[in-house]
């Protein structure tokens, strides 16, 4: 049993990173993730690590590029506009296959937007916000305990696959506080030796970390194919999802992160009213857990996607469902969040429409 402590989400994530051996953090202030650099500025020196307040998000992600190539477990965090600035560096890190963790505590957009929670950076995180064909492993925790656990796991997946990992949180997750059990870090995978590290060429040939590959045929095309093979392997090995009361569900809600937590309450309320509702909550957004959706599309009569955007996550749900089941939508961007009652109302209207349709058939 680890010690239980009460911390804000941003601090929980930072402490989990420290526990997992993260020893380099670079970041830049932006609301609602300021507690991460604040916490790290105090904590890193305590454990012999390095905290750098960068001059920009661009500099921060490039410091991560250098720190990762130097062999450190490293991390940067930001919120939406700042993560946009990091995209250049993320593309380079993915291209160079360097491990690191990037956290995005999303806020309202586009532009400077606002500082309320949002899920409108789904495309940027999951489809690739920078240039080129690359993938990030994207994690979407829905509680602070899960945030703590996934942050530790994220460093293992990053090292194991030599790939950047992103935690796609939001302002609510970052700002809320709940008790978290501080578990000691234990690797979940047998981690490979870091044979790419630039630490001086003593006793070996010089190493190069680079992303410029001018020759097409045996160079950049081959490198892209290598990356795609790795991404396929990750897709086949890593897919996390929570299913809640889906076995007999007529109406299955699809939601991730904090929205899924609210949706779970709505499912309970619907069940209390006799409506067979259920929830599929992807924990990895990439790789996307297709299987639960494919199964649910066969048994449920309708699906409902709930997200804090005008419809991004829904595209992956529809791809998985592939027309086998109607998919309704409830979502808005700009700082809107659903309450259990709003979701319940939507479920009830779907159930009523479904009953009318059945009656019509009779």
């Amino acid at each position: 049993m680890g010690q239980k402590i009460l911390l804000k989400g941003n601090e929980v994530m930072a402490e989990a990173a420290v526990q997992a051996g993260c020893r380099f953090f670079a970041g830049y202030p932006i609301t609602p993730q300021n507690e991460v650099p604040e916490y790290m500025s105090k904590r890193m020196p305590q454990v012999g690590g390095v905290f750098v307040q960068a001059e920009s998000e661009i500099a921060a992600i490039n410091m991560i590029f250098g720190a990762s190539a130097a062999g450190a477990r490293c991390m940067t965090s930001s919120s939406s506009p700042g993560v946009s600035l990091k995209q250049e560096g993320i593309s380079y890190i993915a291209a160079a296959e360097l491990p690191c963790l990037i956290a995005n505590m999303q806020r309202g957009g586009p532009g400077l937007g606002n500082i309320r929670a949002s899920q409108a950076d789904y495309f940027q995180a999951v489809k690739g916000g920078g240039h080129g064909d690359y993938r990030l492993i994207v994690l979407a925790p829905a509680s602070l305990q899960e945030l703590y656990n996934l942050t530790m796991n994220a460093f293992d997946w990053a090292d194991y696959y030599r790939n950047p990992v992103m935690i796609l949180g939001d302002g609510i997750l970052g700002q809320m506080a709940e008790p978290v059990e501080i578990l000691p870090y234990e690797p979940i995978l047998e981690l490979p030796e870091k044979d790419f590290v630039l630490d001086g060429c003593k006793g070996r040939k010089p190493r190069v970390v680079k992303t410029l590959i001018l020759k097409p045929a045996d160079g950049l095309i081959a490198h892209n194919e290598h990356l795609q093979e790795k991404y396929k392997r990750i897709e086949s090995e890593l897919s996390l999802c929570e299913e809640y009361q889906t076995t007999d569900a007529e109406i299955v809600i699809a939601a991730y992160g904090i929205t899924a937590r609210i949706a779970k309450g709505a499912v309970r309320m619907a069940r209390a009213k006799g409506i067979a509702a259920g929830l599929i909550r992807p924990i990895t957004l990439w790789p996307f857990p297709n299987e639960p959706f494919i199964s649910a599309a066969k048994t449920a009569s309708q699906m409902l996607v709930v997200e804090m955007s005008h419809g991004q996550f829904i595209e992956d749900v529809k791809l998985a469902v592939n027309g086998q089941c109607p998919v309704e939508f409830l979502g808005k961007g700009g700082g809107w969040y659903p309450t259990e009652e709003i979701i319940l109302e939507k479920i009830e209207s779907m159930a009523a429409a479904s009953a009318t349709a059945v009656k019509g058939k009779l």
Binding site: V52, G71, L198, K202, R207, K210
Partner: protein, 244 residues
């Protein structure tokens, strides 16, 4: 006696640089210094975006190639994780003084214990001769065809002068490679900049005025004259800061 033998810090690869380009000389100076200080096996260099992007083909030490303008940030991460290693950046004028100005100023002001070799040839070489932040007033480039300053381009940006106001900086010197005397002086400065890092003294930058005959559209001899007559006037040589 000058060292006339090949240094093991450089590979046998033939460089891609144009005839009369200064990069070959500057590579050699950096390599000789690394050799003389006996630090090849603990040195990590950063390659910029620009003509020197293929640095890793020529230097026989660990190299990380960075996004355009970001070497000081990458070097910060690299050096902070491994303070016992020697980290240098090798950057052109577009990289260091345009797209990477912010990274340069802040790495300098934090006093990062790194060595920066700044090659100033007043032009974007690799992309074909566009205006650099250091292009001289009145100078032709493919994006300042009436001469810099005619259409709101502003005057050239002077890096050593700009950075000399920063209290975090240890050492700034502007040198050139357009005469044998300058080459010897540039090597002395580069060696000092590496020695400062070994001694933990902080941010050291050596600016090297260099020739680009191809994009200046001058003969190799006239390109040397251009550095001696025009560039040295706009960018006076000398030590700008020395807190070592």
């Amino acid at each position: 006696m000058p060292n006339l033998t090949r240094t093991e810090v450089l590979t046998d690869a033939q460089t891609h640089y144009c005839p009369g380009c200064g990069h070959g000389i500057i590579h050699r100076l950096v390599a000789e210094v690394i050799d003389e200080l006996g630090i090849r096996e603990k040195t990590i260099g950063t390659a910029p975006v620009g003509c020197a992007v293929l640095l890793y083909d020529y230097f026989n030490c660990d190299i990380i190639e960075c996004a355009h303008g970001r070497p000081p940030a990458v070097a910060t991460g690299m050096k902070r994780v491994q303070p016992d290693k020697i980290v240098f950046t090798y950057q052109g004028d577009g990289d260091l003084a345009a797209i990477g100005t912010s990274e340069t100023i802040h790495a300098a002001n934090r006093g990062e214990n790194i060595t920066v070799i700044f090659v100033n040839n007043a032009i974007y070489g690799m992309t074909g001769g566009q205006m650099a932040p250091t292009t001289l007033t009145g100078m032709f480039s493919t994006t300042s065809q009436d001469g810099r300053g005619e259409h709101g381009e502003g005057p050239p940006l002077k890096v050593c002068e700009l950075l000399s106001s920063l209290e975090g900086v240890c050492y700034l010197e502007r040198t050139a490679v357009s005469t044998p005397k300058d080459v010897i002086s540039a090597k002395r400065a580069i060696k000092k900049a590496f020695q400062n890092q070994i001694d933990g003294k902080g941010f050291s930058l050596v600016e090297v005025l260099s020739m680009c005959p191809t994009d200046w559209k001058l003969s190799t001899a006239k390109a040397v004259d251009f550095v001696n007559n025009e560039m040295k006037t706009a960018f006076p040589l000398g030590v700008y800061v020395d807190r070592s």
